[in-house]
Symmetry: C2
């Protein structure tokens, strides 16, 4: 059991807008998390942030039955869109028991919790 | 070191609206987390969810320098406001290293990370 919490084999990025479908984004999140890939979600504006949060909540329902709990960590990010500076919210979504999970790198998501 | 992840000594509740000040809410979150209290944040509507997420991101900046990392888990919650059914987003905010943190119950937030 490794104590390295900052080890991220891969990270997938999703840009979510206020018009994104939370269910579709949730499917993408669940797929990547199952494959052992951390997910970063970027959203600009209240509507986009709201869709991102709904997507994360929905993806929990996809992952929880197969024994994977996720958490998210929101952070501010300064980005440039069409030459203008905007403040985005970036959510890092990761499996909750990273330290206790034995994962084969690049596997199709076979998780076993060692506790 | 306990493996019990579901043990929550106390939980503080915050209701966040679209008019809430993220900085003020962040201060409240940081204060409770420092005192060893888990925080539940309830928000209804995109504007309120956005303020809640900003508050969580800001509170990370208060807690990180003293060695406490937090994560949040969003979930849907059906609530009744003025006789009408609404869907709220409820964020559970907890310290990220609960299992590795030695905490005196009811203390003023002296944390030591045993890793």
């Amino acid at each position: 059991m490794s104590n390295s919490t900052e080890h991220r084999p891969e990270t997938g990025c999703l840009k979510v807008s206020s018009k994104s479908s939370p269910a579709s984004v949730a499917g993408a999140i669940a797929g990547m998390i199952k494959d052992g890939v951390s997910v970063e979600i970027q959203s600009v504006g209240a509507g986009a942030v709201n869709q991102a949060v709904k997507a994360i909540a929905i993806s929990r329902g996809f992952l929880s039955p197969i024994g994977i709990e996720i958490y998210c960590v929101p952070a501010f990010a300064d980005i440039v869109i069409d030459g203008e500076y905007r403040t985005a919210i970036r959510f890092t979504v990761e499996p909750r028991y990273t330290r206790g999970v034995q994962r084969e790198s690049g596997s199709s998501g076979e998780f076993s919790i060692d506790e």
